[in-house]
């Protein structure tokens, strides 16, 4: 176990705080050790720090970084027992060549299994497969009493559903058994369509998403007028061997080869390069270069994790950092969705490509974000004047139609907004009082949003 003191922030690099950072393996986390680490201002576990705001930092307290742990693949049951500190990157490098894929992949491979459970992450397949928590059979959780217990939804449903999506506030997940998806190849068959505006995008997604396992639209939020909401819609599934043959793709190569490239690493110390002019130009090129309609074969990285090819891309926003705003509104709230897209487009903020996705059913996590409806995600430079007012306005519009905000992205909102979006918050707090009566687990976000 190694202990240092340093500044931590989220991926958006916006509100740092200094904590005692402890690199530990699951075995180090005895009752005595946890008691000692929690004595100042509590403890939180941090994965790879990809949450945008402050859930994986704990100013003045302790932050545990968990060593990766084992990857034990069981092909017979199609499951993997995996250490919570293992990243999806490491996991994919292990399982893809053996013909398996993670049940849910977010837009980056650089999240840990523990983080995937704590945020109950979703991917482009949520409308079909639900969130990550829906594919976990069991996990091992170290609770505030120092006990390491195996949790399943059968024997302690409350603790299970408080932990899935619970932002690490019920204990430390050290290991999980996750059901995997069998794949024949490491490629995807992808249909790409250029869509001229928001209304036709919504139409296409509503009528056609069910035909694909994966679906997501990249929306240009700088475009306005008749081009408001112009987008590139990409939908696909894992390619079979027959698909590869049909497309004459990579014949002779190992169909399960997986070696994600890293093209470039952004150096530190840059100013914000994503000004409105730059973003507008980028969005224009990106929209124009997309095919009107095309079916092709793409790699896992190209389809799922394109930004992972640019190391430290968050540095492109310079020292002030950026934030990612993600909300979900019910399917019927199309007018609200349209009004938000219009408001962002009119606001003059340089929102880099936004992502629109349709969510399927809830997983059951008390603080899980996904709920049926449209979810829109947009990146904004944090230093932009007037940004706070815009976001407060968007918060209201989202809540007015019964929507909610994603805790793994949130960096700006209020306790009231979270409480309004999460009707099961009190249930969550009751479980916390049961398993953590003295408040061992704490994070900056939990203090900021009254999740304790």
């Amino acid at each position: 176990m190694r202990t240092t003191s340093h500044e931590l922030s989220g991926w958006g690099r916006t509100s740092p705080s200094v904590a005692t950072v402890v690199d530990a393996s699951a075995g180090d986390l005895t009752a005595d050790t946890l008691e000692r680490l929690a004595s100042q201002r509590g403890v939180i576990v941090r994965g790879l720090g990809r949450a945008y705001g402050d859930p994986a930092q704990n100013g003045g307290g302790s932050v545990i970084r968990l060593a990766p742990g084992p990857i034990l693949l069981d092909p017979a049951s199609g499951t993997v027992r995996v250490g919570a500190g293992v990243s999806l990157d490491e996991l994919l490098r292990h399982i893809v060549p053996r013909g398996w894929f993670v049940p849910v992949s977010p837009g980056t491979r650089f999240v840990t299994v523990g983080g995937a459970i704590a945020s109950d992450i979703h991917g482009k397949n949520h409308h079909v497969d639900g969130s990550f928590g829906a594919h976990v059979d069991s996990f091992t959780l170290i609770t505030a009493d120092g006990l390491s217990r195996l949790v399943t939804p059968r024997d302690d449903a409350d603790l299970w559903w408080a932990t899935i999506g619970g932002m690490g506030l019920t204990g430390v997940v050290t290991e999980a058994t996750v059901r995997l998806l069998p794949i024949e190849t490491s490629r995807c068959v992808v249909d790409t369509e250029r869509v001229p505006n928001l209304d036709s995008l919504l139409d296409r997604m509503e009528s056609g998403d069910h035909r694909y396992r994966y679906s997501v639209a990249w929306v240009d939020l700088v475009a306005s007028g008749a081009s408001l909401g112009r987008s590139v819609l990409t939908r696909g599934d894992h390619a079979t061997l027959a698909d590869l043959d049909e497309h004459g793709a990579a014949g002779g190569d190992d169909p399960l080869a997986f070696g994600p490239p890293s093209l470039v690493v952004v150096p530190p110390g840059l100013p914000n390069l994503l000004s409105r002019v730059a973003v507008r130009a980028f969005n224009e090129v990106w929209y124009r270069k997309a095919p009107r309609s095309h079916r092709g074969i793409e790699s896992i990285t190209g389809f799922f994790h394109p930004l992972d090819m640019v190391g430290h891309w968050n540095r492109l926003y310079g020292r002030p950092g950026f934030l990612q705003y993600q909300f979900v509104v019910p399917f019927e709230a199309v007018d609200t969705l349209r009004s938000i897209v219009t408001a962002v487009s009119n606001s003059g903020h340089a929102s880099f490509l936004a992502v629109l996705k349709r969510f399927g059913p809830e997983s059951g996590g008390m603080l899980s974000f996904p709920t049926p409806g449209w979810t829109l995600t947009l990146d904004l430079p944090a230093a932009a004047p007037g940004l706070a007012q815009l976001l407060a306005d968007l918060d209201r519009r989202v809540l007015d139609v019964g929507g909610r905000h994603y805790l793994a992205k949130d960096a700006t909102t209020t306790p009231e907004v979270i409480r309004a979006g999460y009707p099961r918050l009190d249930e969550f707090l009751a479980v916390r009082r049961r398993v953590d009566p003295n408040g061992m687990w704490a994070s900056d976000q939990a203090r900021r949003l009254d999740l304790l």
Partner: protein, 248 residues
């Protein structure tokens, strides 16, 4: 905890009756601002009903800059009541009588403006260190950059407070806590009512806006107005005879 757009949830004003302190808090009002703590010498004299900072709850606590031994306790009490403190504004201070020469009055001025700033500043710094985040905003003055015959006692206390604040900021590097030193010129406030205005005079609202902007940009020093930074850098090198002539 400040959010990603530098909006604080809790603001503390040491010297909570200060016009400039109120103007800064007004600039920091947002939907996330929950608590405004006014630390004042005579809590009974504060008419809370007459004050409004958005939807924030206003808490008034007793604080006497002249009693250093109480300062750690005052900060602890505040934290006990409102939790983490995100922004603390050191806004108390006295100007002293015009042409002050009385040694006892001068000592009192030094006690409040300098000694009180040192002890309360360290008490705040201790708490910010413990919580791993937060900013102490110190209201210094250009009067301390180069002292003048007409208010050199005041100026010397501000010079001391300013040097303390910038040094404290260095000492806090790596702790998550920060210090922002604010150097306004002549501010038209209740403290300066009836005095002749100096060049580059500003209103409390200007100081408020400059401080809020400085907090957003994580500045360590803010001059109000900004041009004073250049003016004072030049005046520091003016020959004594000229410097005295400028001080009318």
């Amino acid at each position: 905890m400040n959010n990603a757009v530098a909006q604080p949830q809790t603001v503390v004003v040491l010297g909570g009756t200060s016009d400039i302190g109120h103007a800064i808090v007004t600039e920091l009002v947002s939907p996330v601002l929950r608590n405004v703590v006014l630390a004042v010498r005579r809590p009974d004299d504060v008419d809370v009903a007459a004050l409004s900072f958005g939807d924030a709850e206003i808490v008034v606590v007793p604080f006497d800059a002249e009693v250093p031994s109480s300062h750690v306790g005052v900060i602890a009490d505040i934290v006990e009541r409102v939790g983490d403190i995100d922004v603390v504004i050191q806004a108390f201070g006295q100007l002293g009588s015009p042409g002050l020469v009385d040694p006892v009055e001068a000592a009192t001025l030094a006690q409040v403006n300098y000694v009180g700033a040192v002890s309360s500043g360290l008490a705040v710094a201790g708490q910010l260190r413990r919580q791993g985040h937060g900013t102490l905003v110190v209201l210094s003055s250009v009067a301390g950059v180069r002292t003048r015959a007409s208010n050199f006692v005041y100026g010397s206390t501000k010079a001391g407070q300013d040097a303390f604040a910038t040094g404290l900021g260095h000492s806090l590097a790596g702790s998550g806590a920060r210090v922002m030193t604010v150097r306004p010129g002549f501010v038209r406030s209740s403290m300066t009512t009836g005095m002749d205005e100096a060049p580059f005079s500003v209103d409390p609202v200007d100081v408020g806006a400059a401080v809020a902007g400085g907090l957003r940009r994580k500045r360590t020093v803010v001059w109000v107005p900004g041009i004073l930074r250049v003016v004072m850098e030049l005046l520091r090198f003016a020959p004594d005879a000229i410097w005295r002539r400028l001080d009318r």
